[in-house]
Amino acid sequence: MSAPYAKLPAWADYGLIPLINLIVAFAVAGLVVLLVGENPFRAAVILVDGAFGRGQNIAYTLFYATSFIFTGLAVAVAFHGGLFNIGGEGQAYVGGLGVALVCLAFDGILPWWVNFPLAILGAAAIGALWALVPAYLQARRGSHIVITTIMFNFIAASLMVYLLVDVLKPVGSMSPQTRTFLEGGQLPKLNFLLEAVGFSVRSSPFNLSFLLALVCAFLVWLLIWRTRLGYEIRTQGFSPRAARYAGIGEARIIIITMMISGALAGMMALNPVMGDQNRLQLDFVTGAGFVGIAVALMGRSHPAGIVPAAILFGMLYQGGAELAFEMPSISRDMIVIIQGLVILFAGALEHMFRPSIQALFASISPGTTGLGSPKREGV
């Protein structure tokens, strides 16, 4: 006997449910704003305007979104293989090392368009290697990947502090960061794209890695749904026993999936390091690895969902900063609360409204297959 369960049409599954979750998240966030004595509607206007009001703001929103696309894709690929990669933060952090080493070595010799692919390789390789260790431990020793990837975030943080303070810091400098990259280590900005459609952008960190992120989104779709490897990853993710039956090596899939995931997380470093600050700094990831989890959850692990979800979180980052500036009683921490609420409703409580919506669809729309489809599944 099957539990009541109706298949929703795709637009409801991927559009309506996230939208309802989002509205509830903002409604609750509005209550919090009300609680500190501000007008929630004015706050909402400031937030949206701060994110999309002017070309400048849009550029910042997309800059943040770029990082979240990479980390969101990283989490999604692992999800498809049935693995929960909490280590995006650490993989992105050490990925920065790959970017920085390429830039420090070649920024004076080679042009950016040669260094860019090298930096991509560097970031992806180091991110992948950082994910390899937990993957190996999971595949061969059964150490739970959630635990090990969390631990590797801490190891990454310590390692980077050591490297930046003791190894990479230029002699005589007081701040724990590398020297600024020369022109060969700086990615071109994409402000002209926004200007081309009529916005004016004074200066922004919005750079070429945004396009790389979109390319990666497409490649992830291709990998997961169109390649033999993607088929094996999904089989393993849905049913490890079916994978075993099909002759798909579990250890191999875990290791490859995690390395792809780590490579995507590592490539996130390109955006801030080579695209914006042009140097490797402490803590440049600033939580993007964790936001990636929410982005992947909200985007249903599909690139077509991850990109808009990443832009939504970019909006919260950018618009939130504006809001904290405009409304002094709303502190930076309040913005974090609002982001947390979105993660809570869109991610953790993703299925809260699903049963009632399914019941609604089952009762009004005969096109859906119906509760439990008893004609087909039966006794």
């Binding site: 006997m1 009541p4 109706a6 298949k7 291709l222 169109r226 390649t227 033999r228 490897l229 088929y231 094996e232 999904r234 089989t235 849905f238 049913s239 026993r241 079916a242 075993r244 039956y245 099909a246 002759g247 798909i248 090596g249 089952a362 729309s365 005969p366 096109g367 859906t368 297959t369 119906g370 509760l371 439990g372 489809s373 008893p374 004609k375 087909r376 599944e377 039966g378 006794v379």
Partner: protein
Amino acid sequence: MAEAAIELVGINKSFGAVHANRDIHLEVPRGTIHGIVGENGAGKSTLMSILYGFYQADRGEIRVNGKPAAINTPNDAIALGIGMVHQHFMLVQNFTVLENVILGVEGGALLKSSIARARSELTRLEREYGLEVDPDAVIEELPVGLQQRVEILKALYRGAEILILDEPTGVLTPPEADHLFRILRQLKEEGKTVILITHKLHEIMAITDNVSVMRQGQMVATRKTSETNVEELAELMVGRRVLLRVEKGENRPGDFKLSVKNLTVRDSRGVTMVDDVSLDVRAGEIVGIAGVAGNGQSELIETIAGIRKAVSGTVLLDGKPIDVTGTADPGELRDRGLAHVPEDRHYVGLVLAFEEYENSILGYHDHAQYLKGPFLNIEAIRADARDKIEKYDIRPANERLKTANFSGGNQQKIVLARELEKDPGVLIVGQPTRGVDVGAIEFIHKRLIAMRDAGKAVLLVSVELDEIRSLSDRILVMFDGRIVGERDGDASEGELGLLMAGVERQEAAE
């Protein structure tokens, strides 16, 4: 006729476009055993779910003991004295029998008094109905037959006067099933009413007083059991004449295709599941392995198929060894012509979340015909899936439909189509018709016979003794990890039943 314990009047229930129950009328007299038969998807489960309060009927009335009843939740049903024993037991595996029985009716924050009360009540029920089971045993350590008794005890403890059993014998040995029937007769004598849902027609004939047949959401007939027969019921269920026993000619066994010698397999806890098993399967024969679920059959075929590692022993496929203790891999064995229809199609043979066509290549996804470099050749795979859908009459004929939305029988056909169409020399089949409707069973059995007649070696594992007996040329009986007997295909059910229960060979022969 006695007063009706249950009366259903004009029950209708739709799920979206699916009319699962259409104008159902049913009267179950008190103190009788009433069978309900029907194919998968005929609406039996939906009807019982309405009666037990899982669903509400769109229209219609339920009368319990002559009074109209509103049953909105299972608690309402329990309050009216209706109890249900589900096909899949609803027991907490690491609780004791007593703890499971009082679950939900603890009656207070402290357990001590309710446990004491339950203990004395259980003793009474055991005495009255022959439901012996140790109240302090932990569920996971009990055989399924006893677990089922706990389910019945749970219902009786809650004061059930009307007991619904959903496919109760699916997991039982013949002796266990006999014991269950004795219990049910006892219950009937005490004035309880039993509703038995099953697809096994001989059980209906053996134990029920009346039988109702459902087809496509409708109640097509109700008969006194004494005035009907298996053939009529089968025809009513399917809507056409059905061959209950497949016709098969003499077999002509050829070369040894599969030879297993002294195979020993342990599970992850180190318990010996397959103990020094040797067997041969020749071309053109079906060798059936009978046995109660959990006696090592699953482990045996999984090991031969390369899914599980053996501790020791050898397996020869076409005279060449399979490295069962080391590197045997299901993919490699497929390439060597060994196909495997696994026992558990939901989690092993299929990925239910996949679309049908994706499952049609599971295990063969690395074959060149389905690939274009590293990419899947989606067009070729879908065309191939459509071919198989047509050839095996898989319904609905839509390769883009999610596999979970196919019925059990059609899911099994998806697996079968995939494995048989590669023309394997050796076929290993586990529970080919579990949860499959009568029409599809006939189809699947014919396919397996056709494989045999085409000179393939077939190793069949099934807990359905009827199936083993009607398909096999030779029958091996497994008990406690060992092969305890070999019989011809026409061995009697009683003889096999004793072997399956672990009674020694000599005793069985007497």
